[in-house]
């Protein structure tokens, strides 16, 4: 019996290895496919954004805005009917900032709560030992 059992061990091991390999391969392939789908989805979204930006550009283009302004009864001012006022602190129209300047860190910090990034050992130390260490220090 022992001999049979021993002779079957390699078979079982091989079968188990193949099963694990197949499961991992299938998961990797599924993840890969999902990644590819997301990649193409991203491309589609980027195209949609470009399209929407162009549409917005057309809707707010000079000629369209002019038509809208005329329809709403606005008139262009002239030098004679303009009155300038001093508004303390007003800096005038500021230069456009379409993107942040270089050097500015725009990555949002702390997307993942720090609690989820803590290892078990550091949690144990922080929870059970830090107080006593602190107390020890203060007692001294």
């Amino acid at each position: 019996m022992q001999a049979i059992g021993l002779s079957l061990i390699p078979v079982v091991l091989i079968a188990a290895s193949i099963s694990i390999y197949l499961v991992i391969s299938a998961q990797a392939a599924a993840a890969g496919l999902e990644g590819m789908v997301l990649h193409f989805e991203e491309e589609k979204i980027l195209r949609t954004i470009a399209n929407q930006r162009s549409n917005l550009g057309y809707i707010t283009s000079y000629s369209q805005m002019q038509k809208r302004a005329e329809k709403m009864g606005f008139e262009s001012p002239s030098v004679q009917n303009i009155h300038h006022m001093v508004i303390n602190g007003y800096q005038g129209q500021q230069p456009v900032m379409i993107a942040p300047p270089p050097g500015e860190n725009t990555r949002p910090s702390g997307i993942v709560n720090s609690a989820y990034q803590e290892s078990l050992s550091s949690w144990i130390i922080a929870t059970f030992f830090s107080d006593s260490i602190a107390k020890g220090i203060s007692n001294e």
């Binding site: 002779s7 390699p10 078979v11 091989i14 550009g57 283009s61 030098v79």
Partner: protein, 594 residues
């Protein structure tokens, strides 16, 4: 456990062991068999990746306030996969009339025989907007419900028709600032290029060119998916509203004066930023292929950088500034104008062929006396005069960041094509050729305390999610600060004394008219002229310089009659857009602020 069971178990274990060993041996055999290796390589090659044409997004172009001047639009290429076509007639019927397609042309393409080596896919039409594709998709699905997989030949089917999305350059403002923006030849799908203006000059930065990329089909090669970066976006110094205003006024001027064309530049002399730059003709950039119909071979796409011409009297600003700067003349200098000046074997006359008697230098500028300026230049001496002109950048590229800048070299003593008379004629802007932006940049030194800034249209670059602002550059300092102030005051006074049409109520403006005769078969005459005006203000703190050039006006040849009113009209609107209060109000505001 009895003996029989034991034997059975032993046999089963031997069988399983042998089966395992056999499987392993088979795997080793397959791995090392040449035939299977070949098959594996073939499959790897055919199915694990494909070389695809990839279209990264071309960078956007914005005006100085972030308003879109050039962007991208999602469009579709529609074609047929010949192997899958079931009913070519349905395809021809549905696409008949779309983008000018004709039934029989579509039928011919869709009916081609599938040949895996030669004909697999044919393009039917390109650049279809998403709306058309949505409708096409709906019809496709309806037909599929009626006739799944197109199995019945008698029923309609759009099987075989496919569409692929890609981005197309789009210009939401159509003609606005077209001379500055240029265009991207998006119709040449595989080798589109930027032509003229910003699209040409910053073509590499804007990029967005299609490229062949390795696209993995094997999910294990996910990390090899191409990361082709989008092109950088550009923020220009152009103000869309001011640009539109200038274009409108130029169009009106051309019509009113029956001129051949008109050009205007507005720049900020303090940093060289081009706020507006307009010329004629202009084209709808979304139909860029029509530009050849509107532009003759001689006509530059942007006259402001691509046309060289004799500027005439506006050039006197540079001559007089140089003379003041090197001390040849000063406020006290008096010139007794005899009405003619003999030099280098030729005679120089004033614009009205009359003499003006005793004149200060301000009088010379106010009456725009050729004779006086020719005398000033000869008093300076050729070497000094041309040194100053070099410092003002005459004869050299302004290096503005726009495609198609044309310059004409300035001859000076020692050159084979230079004659002494040129010193006299150059002094009042004849016998010398400039492009408008070159002249505007040179004169901006007078408006900016003697510092000549590099004219430019790029305000910022947006790349990898960051905005990089450009830094203004000093090109040269041709004259001293006090000379610049003297010149500005002189030109303010001369405009006010002659009650010029160029004046703007409430603002002190410095300016100079120009009327350059155009030579026909070597003979100069007043029939054909380049009428121009250059001015800047407010005189105490110049924030803008406006240069207007009307080419060959028919109503009047004079810059003071044709170009000066256009200048005044532009400045009256410009001060509103730039939020510059009249000088009296500024004084009041300072008092209130204090």
């Amino acid at each position: 456990m009895n003996r029989i069971e034991n034997t059975r178990l032993s046999l089963v274990s031997i069988f399983l062991s042998m089966a395992s060993v056999l499987i392993l041996l088979m795997m080793v055999r397959i791995q090392n068999n040449g035939k299977y290796q070949e098959l594996s390589i073939k499959n790897e090659k055919e199915y694990s990746f494909a070389i695809e044409n990839y279209y990264p997004e071309r960078g956007n172009i914005y005006d100085r306030w972030g308003r879109l001047l050039a962007g991208n639009e999602d469009v579709f290429e529609v074609g047929v996969l010949l192997e899958n076509v079931r009913n070519p007639k349905t395809i021809a019927q549905i696409l008949d009339g779309v983008n000018g397609l004709e039934y029989f042309d579509i039928l011919k393409i869709a009916s081609q025989r599938y040949d895996p080596e030669k004909s697999v896919y044919s393009v039917l039409v390109d650049f279809l907007p998403s709306g058309v594709i949505d409708a096409l998709s709906q019809i496709y699905q309806d037909y599929e419900l009626e006739n799944p997989y197109g199995r019945k030949d008698t029923l309609p089917s759009l099987r075989g028709i496919v569409w692929y999305p890609h981005l197309k350059r789009n210009y939401p403002e159509n003609t606005l600032a077209s001379n500055v923006i240029g265009f991207y030849s998006f119709k040449d799908r595989s080798d589109g290029e930027g032509y003229f203006g910003v699209e040409e000059y910053y073509d590499d930065l804007l990029a967005g060119r299609p490229m062949d990329t390795f696209m993995p089909r094997n999910p294990y090669l996910l990390e090899e998916l191409p990361e082709v970066p989008a092109g950088a976006s550009l923020v220009l110094t152009i103000d869309r509203e001011i640009q539109a205003m200038v274009e409108m006024k130029l169009d009106e001027a051309v019509e009113e004066h029956q001129a051949e064309s008109a050009t205007a530049i507005i720049l900020d002399p303090r940093n060289g930023e081009i706020i507006a730059m307009a010329s004629q003709p202009r084209i709808n950039l979304n139909q860029y292929w029509q530009f050849e119909n509107q532009f003759s071979k001689e006509k530059p796409f942007n006259q402001a950088v691509g046309a060289v011409y004799e500027p005439g009297s506006v050039f006197k600003v540079l001559t007089m500034a140089a003379a003041f700067d090197n001390g040849t003349v000063d406020d006290e200098t008096i010139f007794n104008d005899p009405g003619r000046f003999e030099y280098g074997g030729s005679t120089i006359l004033n614009w009205n062929r009359r003499s003006f008697g005793k004149q200060t230098m301000q009088g010379c500028m106010q009456h725009s006396l050729n004779v006086c300026l020719a005398w000033v230049a000869t008093e300076m001496g050729a070497e000094s005069f041309y040194d100053y002109m070099q410092a003002f950048g005459i004869g050299r590229r302004s290096n503005i960041d726009l495609g198609g800048e044309l310059v004409y070299p300035m001859s000076s003593p020692g050159d084979s094509d230079w004659y002494p008379i040129q010193l006299a004629t150059n002094s009042f802007g004849q016998g010398v050729a400039v492009n408008p932006v070159q002249l505007a940049a040179a004169i901006s030194a007078v408006a900016n305390d003697g510092k000549m800034m590099k004219p430019h249209v790029l305000k910022a670059v947006i790349q990898n999610g960051k905005q990089y602002d450009t830094t203004p550059q000093v090109l040269s300092i041709p004259i001293k600060e006090e000379t610049a102030h003297t010149m500005t005051e002189m030109l303010v006074s001369s405009l006010e004394k002659e009650s010029s049409i160029a004046l703007v109520p409430g603002y002190r403006i410095a300016g100079k008219t120009g009327t350059a005769e155009i030579a026909i078969a070597g003979e100069y005459g007043i029939e054909l002229t380049n009428a121009s005006f250059v001015g800047w203000g407010p005189a105490t703190d110049p924030q803008f310089l406006v240069y207007v050039w009307i080419e060959k006006p028919k109503s009047s040849p004079w810059g003071s009659v044709v170009a000066a009113p256009v200048f005044s009209s532009i400045v009256q609107d410009l001060v509103i857009y730039l939020d510059i209060p009249p000088e009296q109000e500024t004084a009041n505001q300072i008092a209130i602020g204090n």
